[in-house]
Symmetry: C2
Subunit: 349 residues, 2 copies
């Protein structure tokens, strides 16, 4: 077993020498997402925004609870086997996550990184498992278009107009069960971001605000690990969408990293061309449903061996915006990798 | 070095075999707290609620930034030496913490557990250091009476009346620098709570709502570690205050744990008898300024050797309350202990 001393690389990358992986994952989505390009990769598709509940907030909670329950079941475990649940969402006071933790009764740690929360919760889950503090941990996040619009912007009934730089909050939830064990995708590295703020103040253009944070974390990841873009089959941001993603690609190219076609964005993968989603998807669920639904499935099927997921978050609030502040952003990256054992067995675990 | 396998005890307690401790800490408070019983134990006392800023939100941020800067300086470090900053607060979207992370430029992880966030951030910081992912981590939290009233309740200008069961949000911030090293108080154990909800719906009586969560975590801590109340010189809850603390004491007694005089509450230690604070103090800063200001100082002076701090959080939001939900609560506990090395040197490090 590696000693503790080997687990920190460079400025802020963690390595998990014990072989921590995603034992199972699940993705739950709403109607528009369930009609999108990745519709075959989700575990549950709700055909209405209420998911059988009487409020949107309860619908979002139901989706997160379902994602957790499904992932835990797919891992062949019960929630009572799992002493650590890390979750976050976009609602004030993280209520989706807290109420899901009430339902599932696992020891609970709330985390918050706006739309970067998916990879933040996954990184902490991996560290707690690799560090030996828990045999298993569940990482989960959610977002819901209607709860987010209501909280951050205008009542949807008002019909406020948006610019083309605005993004569409993904309705859905994702969860991953982390544990030790070969056979599935391993969590090889996490790179924890720091806050980057280039002075953007427009809350209807978060892609532009977040792009430099993604670039900072990607560059740090390469510097810390010694890896280069060619070491990954896919490098995917969480929700930079049509406006932010090309900015990030350009900034990386200026810094000497040409990511080419392998550089994609979850927010551009979810919806169909006919969907009206402005610049593309956003929200905690954007990176989560794509990673936990689509990407891990493709990795198990052998499409990709090494994938770097960079979840980006805009850490503003309506109050900080109203007080004239610019938008602090952050990005956390996780490197996923099919183990050789899994590849040897055909990668179909 | 202990192997990873030894770091999980019972249901949800973590042990840190590498000898992780609080290298330095700082507490910053507002005017009422600075006029209270512990006024000699704070690093900075602001004599007005604005702390030289033009909004209350910026004042809260200034206090957190000051607490972090002071703790890092007292540890003989610079923020550039520290690759992990874990922080949370009560404001929507955790903006106090996020903006402080922009200022201090450490890799940042937002956490949220309402008033339990102090011990949640400290526990994760300890695990990341003990696990070898970072040599140092800073844990920080804040709360501010005026920002909390404005966000959760009524505009303060409205002069809304409160019941005697209500609590007074502490204005202040606390931060701790966690690293390996003998000489100061060690972090021996963390017990991570699960959500406990006994159906209380009154947001003006959070002490009653939170008491059972504190009891659950304290009982779990004793069961997981094999320790008993007599193993601690002080067992202190974060903010149960006048109403909740006796309920917790009674429930523990019914469960066979008579904590006696060693059972205290941070929310009852901060203010002077003449202060009008209803049932007592609350907020993330309640446990933080008492622990990082008063308790660690007393431990270094030899007053107490072993202290168990249980920070309690009410995980509601105004929306969950308005939708008729009861209040989910949680508590996280950290066992602090003066090392024998520190005792041998007189404990005055």
């Amino acid at each position: 077993m590696a000693t503790n001393e080997t687990k920190a690389l460079g400025r802020s990358t963690w390595v998990y020498p014990s072989g921590v992986g995603i034992l199972a994952s699940a993705a739950v989505v709403g109607p528009k997402e369930g009609d999108g390009l990745l519709k075959d990769d989700y575990d549950i598709i709700y055909t209405d925004m209420y998911a059988g509940q009487d409020t949107w907030e309860k619908a979002e909670r139901k989706m997160l609870e379902d994602a957790v329950a499904t992932a835990v079941e797919k891992a062949g475990l019960q929630t009572s086997d799992i002493p650590a649940y890390l979750a976050g969402d976009l609602l004030n006071q993280n209520i989706t996550s807290s109420f899901s933790a009430k339902t599932h009764q696992m020891p609970f740690m709330g985390v918050y990184g706006a739309c970067s929360t998916s990879m933040l919760s996954l990184s902490l889950a991996a560290a707690l498992v690799d560090g030996g503090y828990t045999p298993y941990a569940v990482a989960g996040v959610s977002s819901h278009n209607a709860t987010a619009e209501k909280q951050y912007r205008y009542p949807t009934e008002y019909g406020g107009q948006k610019t083309d730089t605005a993004q569409w909050t993904v309705t859905g939830a994702g969860a991953a069960v982390v544990g030790r064990g070969e056979g599935g995708p391993l969590i090889r590295y996490s790179t924890i971001g720091k806050v980057v703020d280039r002075g953007v103040k427009n809350p209807f253009d978060l892609g532009t605000a977040m792009a430099p944070a993604a670039v900072d974390t990607i560059q740090t990841h390469f510097q810390d690990t010694g890896r280069m873009p060619g070491d990954y089959d896919l490098i995917v941001t969480g929700d930079l969408a049509k406006v932010g993603h090309p900015i990030a690609a350009d900034l990386l190219k200026q810094a000497g990293y040409d990511l080419g076609e392998r550089f994609q964005d979850c927010g551009l993968m979810i919806y169909s061309p006919g969907h009206e989603v402005f610049a593309g998807g956003s929200g905690c669920a954007s990176s989560a449903v794509v990673t936990y639904g689509h990407i891990l499935k493709q990795m198990r099927q052998g499409t990709w061996r090494r994938v770097l997921v960079i979840a980006t978050g805009a850490l503003l609030s309506p109050i900080s915006y109203q007080q004239g502040e610019s938008i602090p952003c952050i990005a956390h990256a996780v490197a996923l990798e099919m183990s050789e054992a899994a590849e040897g067995s055909g990668g179909l675990s």
